[in-house]
């Protein structure tokens, strides 16, 4: 029965040689996490997204095409923002507690898998899911926008060539701009930051619901962190207790308003490349720091 075991008792151990850091191991964990989330049928929300962006036009039928495009872009980018955020928080929040409760964590960590790689694999799995979701939504959004753009051009009617060219240019100016891609990158980075933060919270939170609630609170406070920082650093009239509170908010919470330039991008503002790169770099640093903090806590966690 045990002919499969070719290794006799006295031979050198194990079929494998442990590597201190193994990208392949991390990817095995990441792809497993991605598969888990995909098989939870999370992508059905894309149907809702499609309905939203297509259905939003029902409210603006009587509007000019520029207004219609504006609303379409705003709704699509806003929906992308909320969906990616929800996906980030909800899918990350349940990863660790589920593994602990169902004891799959024990079987994984009983293998030669460092805790760091386990956590990194989980995070990368979620980030990959977010990337796929963002890409699919972007594809849908661009498709609908292009279709509406072509419809608007087709309805321009007969006019002299130079006027037609100017009209087509006006239509196209209302739809696509390179900054839209930058805006979508920011939507992704914001969601990725929230995922990393949620993972950090889940390393010490006792329940999933606690993790989700704290993530939601941090999300909202993160949007006023800039205000708190401003008051703390510049306003001399603030009392000492208030100053301490403002300092706490400024130091502990992320500044999520930095990523909210999407609204201006949708309105047609151009995003300078330097600002795009700096904001993106800050987002990546946030993700890394939150992950590091989560790793330190997870490393100490009694299982």
């Amino acid at each position: 029965m045990l002919d499969v075991f070719l290794t006799p008792m006295s031979a050198a151990p194990s079929a494998t040689r442990h590597k201190l850091f193994s990208p392949a191991r991390i990817w095995a964990l990441a792809s497993n996490t991605l598969l888990e989330l995909v098989r939870l049928k999370v992508f059905y929300f894309l149907l809702l997204f499609a309905l939203l962006i297509i259905g939003s036009s029902a409210f603006v039928v009587k509007f000019s095409f520029q207004e219609q495009f504006q609303v379409l872009k705003d709704v699509a980018l806003g929906a992308m923002s909320i969906f990616t955020w929800l996906l980030a928080v909800l899918s990350t929040a349940l990863l660790l507690p589920k593994d602990i409760e169902e004891r799959t964590l024990y079987t994984i960590l009983a293998k030669p898998v460092p805790r760091c790689e386990y956590l990194l694999g989980k995070l990368l799995g979620v980030l990959t899911l977010l990337f796929l979701a963002t890409s699919l939504m972007s594809f849908l959004f661009v498709g609908v926008l292009y279709y509406r753009e072509q419809g608007a051009i087709a309805s321009l009617g007969d006019m002299p060539p130079d006027e037609f060219a100017a009209a087509v240019a006006a239509v196209k100016a209302s739809t696509f701009s390179p900054s839209l891609i930058q805006g979508i990158v920011f939507i992704y980075l914001k969601a990725a930051l929230c995922a990393s933060l949620t993972l950090l919270l889940s390393t010490f939170a006792s329940t999933t619901i606690f993790t989700i609630m704290v993530s939601v609170v941090v999300y909202f406070i993160g949007h006023v962190q800039a205000l708190a920082r401003d008051y703390w650093l510049r306003d001399a009239t603030v009392g000492p207790l208030t100053k301490i509170f403002l300092a706490f908010v400024s130091l502990v919470f992320p500044d999520l308003q930095l990523f909210n330039v999407v609204d201006d991008i949708a309105a047609g503002a151009a995003l300078p490349m330097a600002i795009f790169l700096k904001t993106s770099a800050l987002g990546v640093i946030y993700i890394a720091v939150y992950f590091l903090a989560g790793y330190f806590l997870f490393q100490n966690k009694e299982l």
């Binding site: 201190l20 409210f59 603006v60 009587k62 509007f63 000019s64 520029q66 207004e67 504006q70 609303v71 705003d74 709704v75 980018l77 806003g78 909320i82 805790r115 100017a166 209302s174 914001k190 010490f204 999300y219 909202f220 949007h223 006023v224 800039a226 920082r229 401003d230 650093l233 400024s250 130091l251 502990v252 500044d255 999520l256 308003q257 930095l258 990523f259 909210n260 330039v261 999407v262 609204d263 201006d264 949708a266 309105a267 047609g268 503002a269 995003l271 300078p272 330097a274 600002i275 700096k278 904001t279 800050l282 640093i285 720091v289 590091l292 903090a293 330190f296 806590l297 490393q299 100490n300």
Partner: protein
């Protein structure tokens, strides 16, 4: 006695065990990011981004839920919601409500040129005409005054829009049209069109319109003539009826010697 080897590791480095280390890490990171974040915020504001007004006044205007949504990164959607609300107010001919909504929308999305443009158009064109024709107001003077107030509101929207979007030719173009058609102030119209013409995204016609309005601004006829002459000589594409009409008019008004005239509307008459 604590087991040294059991302490958590990164590679072979021993990491401090106590959770307070994580708190210190986050606080240290918070301190390190403070100034870069503030600097990046200033950079974004300087680039004309994140100008949406999100203060207590806005909170009063939009309500708590909308304010929280706007604060949470959904400023554009909240603005669109109020824009749609403004359109339904327009269908009810509720100009006051429209103005309130336009104020909210333009405050939330100051970088959206479309909102400034449409708000100005509704006020200066639709609302002003409705005021003029308002038979519920028997006194003509009051109707005219109301109309002028709406036109002034439209002007303000365009000026505020320009302040928030300085590089936008369209708003100057609209301003020129407002001055020309609604205020009949050709000097101001000319100024607005010239501002538009100086911007790279300006449509071609604004150069001509600037000259036409300048021609109607007392004391600037010569200047207008020189501009129209230069346009005429520049390209045959500029030989449009209105330009030709104004060129001819100015040539006559300024008594330009025939030999110096670039445009002759009736060559046979000249020949005779």
């Amino acid at each position: 006695m604590p087991n040294e080897k059991m302490k958590p590791r990164i590679g072979n480095a021993v990491v401090i065990r106590h959770p307070s280390f994580v708190v210190l890490l986050l606080l240290a990171f918070g301190a390190a990011k403070l100034l870069p974040e503030a600097a990046l915020t200033r950079e974004q504001l300087a680039a004309g981004l994140r100008k949406g007004q999100l203060d207590l006044e806005m909170r009063q205007q939009v309500g708590q839920l909308a304010f929280v949504a706007a604060l949470s990164g959904f400023r554009a959607i909240v603005a669109d919601g109020f824009w749609i609300h403004a359109q339904t107010a327009w269908e009810r001919v509720d100009w006051a409500r429209m103005k309130l909504d336009f104020d909210i929308v333009t405050s939330l999305q100051p970088r959206c040129v479309l909102f400034w443009e449409m708000s100005a158009w509704h006020m200066s064109h639709n609302a002003s005409v409705a005021a003029l024709e308002n038979r519920a107001q028997p006194r003509a003077a009051l109707r005219v005054r109301a109309a002028r107030e709406f036109i002034a509101t439209g002007e303000k929207y365009l000026l505020d829009g320009i302040a928030n979007n300085p590089g936008n030719a369209r708003l100057y173009d609209m301003l020129g049209m407002l001055y020309r058609d609604k205020m009949e102030d050709h000097c101001k119209a000319s100024w607005a069109y010239f501002q538009a013409a100086a911007l790279p995204t300006a449509p071609m016609y604004v150069h001509r319109f600037a000259a036409y309005e300048l021609a109607q601004c007392p004391g600037h006829e010569r200047e207008a003539y020189e501009i129209l002459r230069a346009l005429y000589l520049k390209s045959e594409d500029e030989h449009l009826p209105t330009l030709l009409k104004w060129l001819d008019r100015l040539q006559q008004k300024l008594s330009i010697p025939p030999a110096e005239r670039v445009y002759n509307p009736d060559p046979e008459k000249s020949a005779r």
